[in-house]
């Protein structure tokens, strides 16, 4: 699984991209716990960050598997 970080989350994690191995599908909550275990600095951003799975915002029942590209989307500010 590929995890993408954008904007200030790149600074927080010190990386733009992260490879993660999953043995079985996980839900968003479990995924967040794995990410925060790796990068504790992410915890305070969690409430404002949305997850995207393969380029689309996830619904509440999303399951993530090893082949997914997951992006952490902090509040956007384009335009």
């Amino acid at each position: 699984m590929k995890i993408l970080f954008f904007a200030h989350l790149k600074t927080v994690t010190g990386q733009a991209e992260l490879g993660l191995s999953l043995n079985e599908p996980v839900d968003a909550n479990t995924l967040w716990e794995r990410l925060i275990a790796l990068h504790p600095g992410l915890a305070r951003y969690r409430p404002s960050v949305r997850l995207a799975q393969n380029g689309e915002y996830i619904g509440s029942k999303a399951q993530f598997s090893d082949i997914d590209e997951v992006a952490l989307i902090p509040p956007v500010s384009g335009g």
Binding site: L4, F6, A7, A52, G55, E56, Y57, A71, I73, P74, V76, S77, G78, G79
Partner: protein, 139 residues
Amino acid sequence: MQVEIQLTRQRIGVSRFRSSGLLAEQGAEVEFCGLVRGQENGMAIAALEYEAYSPMAEREMRRIIEDIGRRHRCLLVRVIHRIGVVPVGEAAICVDIAARHRAEAFAMLAEFMDRLKQDVPIWKRQPLTADALAELKAK
């Protein structure tokens, strides 16, 4: 409804826009450009840097436009968003809309910009001062 979406690292030129008169039923054309202003949070700046999650940003813009188009059908909507360093006075985004009447063009434009600023994964990064911009150009 024709939809064209583009992210670019180049300066957005005026000549790339305007569809006027190309579409027989067209009665309205509206173009909006959002420019980088010389102040950000009260500080004088020389440029802003934009970053995008490109494939998702393009897809999300298209999805938003098609959704709005179900209520406010236009003939053509073209969006160019610049990423990378955008100097003050230059356009970060231009939206060009052709429609039968002005009402749907205005509705499309206003609603698209609101939703872009909610949902499209593009970020303003730290502003650049004049010194930082000069340094970057010297590289």
